[in-house]
């Protein structure tokens, strides 16, 4: 193996249960996002664009799709001689199998992998955030500070600060205090869950943490507080750009709708910082005579005869004449039959919506104003469901794959 200055460990094992039906068969990082991508594409593209060509992806929960999707990293140009992407699932060793217990534990279990590249620094990432970031700049900062650990931070609204890990830093940005989800935050600088460690320091503290039977083996809850207590030099790297945690259905839906804003902060059409994704083999999108499309993104392979407004359509979606789609996210290969109304819903892959069915409702024109609230009433239809003609599926009713046909259920 060739020696690398910095390699990345990408935590992709999360179940993401607050994404409800969206993570029924797949890990959270594999959830589709933005009409063309999966959530993990953003972190992996950041690695590729930042010149980090060696990434270990730690998987655990329903990794099948992720394993297939990531392969050798060809989609992100993360292959070639040496390095590349390696999937690191839990495994059976000499003393039997061991599931990953926490974020820190999963990295601890793969110290051999890290050692094989002899990196000076290790970048720890989550696979479930939407953002474009140059990790190289953070690495330069980390080196300049000669930090044991650098944590990327972002300003969040004061009223939301209690949901995050909050940093208190001195004038030099050295962190003096780290509070995980504080009741009374002294600050609004939140951890983005992006860490650069000196490799030796990381290994030392992972070993200490593994020996501590009271630990939850979590970076935020255990490892970083211990490092602070023991006097390690930890610096905050202030990040200014767009960053979203899409951990709930509401935040997922809001982040999707934000892309459609005319002045969207996530620059999708930015040629210098391309987000890579898997290739598809669909023809261009087709809009029939009489179709209608407004403020939407529509991927290739869609065939639109109906009306689309404020919506994101993934590839291969078919919208038949007279159907209306509003404020919704329609994943790949969905078929929306004639006369269907879809309103404020997330429709999973390969769903068929029968003629005249109504999905979702309660459209709020001013969604931006209620941002952060949990009262969005978004209807989620799971992958591969089959919605019977003329049925009514209301908000918060999930359709499960096993119940093959549902009809006549009105909103709850």
């Amino acid at each position: 193996m060739q020696k690398k200055e910095c390699i990345a460990m990408l935590l992709a094992g999360g179940q993401g249960s607050r994404l409800r039906g969206l993570t029924r068969n797949i890990a959270k990082p594999a959830v589709p996002f933005g009409g063309q991508y999966r959530i993990i594409d953003f972190s992996l593209s950041n690695c590729a664009n930042s010149g980090i060509d060696t990434v270990g992806v730690l998987t655990q929960y329903k990794p099948q799709l992720l394993n297939k999707y990531i392969g050798m990293g060809v989609n992100w140009d993360l292959h070639g001689n040496g390095g590349g992407v390696t999937i690191l699932p839990p495994y059976v060793g000499d003393r039997g199998g061991c599931w990953y217990q926490g974020t820190a534990h999963s990295v601890y279990q793969n110290i051999d992998y890290i050692d094989s590249f002899e990196p000076e620094h290790v970048l720890i990432l989550s696979g479930d955030h939407i953002y474009k970031m140059n990790y190289e700049e953070m690495l330069v900062y980390h080196r300049r500070k000669d930090a044991d650990l650098t944590i990327s931070v972002i300003e969040v609204p004061w009223e939301e600060a209690g949901r995050f890990g909050i940093m208190n830093a001195d004038g030099d940005m050295r962190i003096t205090e780290f509070e995980e989800k504080p009741r009374k935050p002294k600050n609004n600088l939140a951890s983005m869950g992006i860490y650069i460690f000196k490799t030796e320091v990381l290994k030392t503290y992972l070993k200490k943490d593994a020996l501590d039977s009271t630990s939850n083996n979590d970076f935020g809850k255990n490892v970083i507080p211990r490092m602070l207590r023991e006097g390690c030099s930890i610096y905050a790297f202030p990040y200014q750009g767009y960053w979203r945690d899409v951990g709930t259905v509401e935040s997922y839906w809001l982040a999707s709708m934000e892309i459609l804003d005319d002045d969207a902060k996530l620059k999708m059409f930015d040629n210098d910082w391309c987000v890579y994704s898997e290739s598809t083999s669909f023809p261009p999108a087709y809009f029939a005579t009489g179709s209608y499309v407004k403020n939407s993104m529509v991927a290739e392979g869609c065939r639109i005869s109906g009306e689309i407004e404020n919506s994101l359509l993934f590839s291969g979606v078919k919208v038949e004449p007279g159907a209306r789609v509003k404020d919704s996210i329609i994943m790949a290969n969905v078929k929306i039959s004639a006369g269907v109304v879809i309103d404020k819903a997330i429709i999973g892959e390969e769903v068929t919506v029968g003629e005249g069915a109504v999905v979702g409702g309660e459209y709020s024109k001013e969604y931006a104003k209620v941002r952060g609230s949990r009262e969005h009433n978004i209807t989620v239809i799971e992958n591969n469901s089959d919605i019977a003609p003329y049925s009514h599926i209301g908000v918060l009713v999930m359709v499960k794959k096993d119940e093959e046909q549902l009809s006549g259920i009105s909103g709850v």
């Binding site: 933005g34 087709y286 005579t289 403020n295």
Partner: protein, 376 residues
């Protein structure tokens, strides 16, 4: 189908599609919003399990090599076999353009002889269709023909027409316009199945006689001596050999039936993958009867048009009956009707470009129009 070798020949064609083919070989001509012509023949072959393909590549054509690269888009990036570029023979050009230039294959005789496959499918690079070569090959084996020529009974434009009897045996090949207006024309799709051994024999004879056109010099003359049979294909197809057919065929793609048949019914048509977001349709856009690839930003009106990747159409601009290649920018209030804009053309604010009906006008690569007012 593992033991069939695919061979793709190319017309010498500078200028056949006006400026579109000045800097591209026919295989590399952009088509259908995200493809190049060669994608159809390559995909048809790959979908039938043919994964060793030799492609005749004219000298100096960077575009086709850029597009095909290692063949990854088609799953042809194999350690063994895959896609091989066959340099075309760069001899003196004779007066008459050859329909299938066998000199290019003769130039690569060692490649042919070293391959282990015994059967060949030869195809032109300018036929748009989604054909199941499994069936064609089975038909070829069933009749036991020496050579099978794929053809269609449609009313389509073409270059070579066939006279076949009821058993499918071809008795005459007619080059140019179909000369018997009383009968239904049968047009060749420029695809040929035969044994490699037979091709090698033919090539050696050509070398002796120094006559190199598969159609004129071999098939047309040997209809009695060789068992040449027609395989009738009844799906959608188009042979692109003029600007008119290039334009018309892309307008045909706007029919949902053609779209379905070409892209959704049989195997996929693969191409080089280019990353980029889906297209964004702004509040001010109006889109109707059009094909639009990824990465576009559409704020104006698009009607009856084919729009390639990364095109930007500003608010108030109107695009009708046009073919807009990648990275074109159309500014506000511009008006386009019946034009073919090559890659990277910039159309300034208020510029009008309108072609006479049925006579599409080509704007060459990288051109910019910024003076306001009507044009053409």
């Amino acid at each position: 189908m593992k033991k069939v070798l695919g061979l793709v020949h190319q017309m010498k064609n500078e200028g056949l599609l006006k400026s579109i083919t000045h800097h591209r070989c026919m295989a590399a001509v952009p088509f259908g919003g995200k493809y190049r012509l060669v994608d159809f023949v390559l995909s048809n072959m790959v979908n039938a399990g043919i994964d060793n393909i030799g492609l005749v590549t004219p000298a100096g054509s960077r575009s086709i090599m850029d597009h095909l690269g290692g063949g990854r888009g088609w799953g042809l990036d194999k350690k063994h076999g895959g896609l091989v570029f066959l340099p075309s023979a760069n001899g003196r050009k004779t007066g008459r353009r050859r329909i299938v230039d066998l000199r290019d294959f003769y130039h690569n005789l060692d490649f042919l002889e070293n391959r282990e496959e015994e059967e060949l499918i030869i195809s032109g690079s300018n036929v748009v269709c989604n054909i199941d070569y499994h069936k064609v090959f089975q038909g070829h084996l069933d009749t036991g023909a020496d050579i099978t020529v794929v053809c269609s009974g449609g009313e389509k434009e073409g270059q070579v027409f066939l006279d076949a009897d009821e058993g499918g045996r071809i008795h005459r090949l007619i080059i140019g316009k179909n000369k018997k207006p009383d009968t239904q024309p049968v047009v060749s799709l420029d695809m040929y199945l035969l044994k490699k051994e037979l091709l090698v024999d033919i090539l050696r004879e050509c070398a002796d006689s120094n006559r190199w056109d598969l159609i004129r010099d071999v098939l047309a003359k040997r209809v009695e001596d060789l068992d040449i049979r027609a395989f009738f294909y009844d799906g959608y197809f188009a042979v692109i050999n003029s600007l008119a057919s290039y334009y018309r065929c892309q307008m045909e793609l706007l029919s949902p039936q053609v779209l379905q048949e070409l892209f959704f019914a049989n195997g996929p048509i693969c191409t080089k993958w280019k990353d980029g977001p889906p297209s964004k349709y702004y509040r001010t856009c109006r889109v109707s009867n059009s094909l639009i690839a990824n990465g576009c930003q559409i704020a104006g009106v698009v009607e009856n048009s084919v729009v390639f990747r990364k095109v930007k159409i500003e608010e108030g601009a109107i695009v009708r009956n046009s073919i807009i290649m990648p990275k074109v920018k159309v500014q506000a209030e511009a008006y386009l009707d019946g034009v073919i804009l090559d890659k990277g053309v910039a159309v300034g604010k208020g510029v009008h470009l309108k072609a006479p009906k049925g006579q599409p006008v080509v704007v060459e690569r990288g051109a910019t129009y910024f003076q306001e007012g009507a044009f053409i």
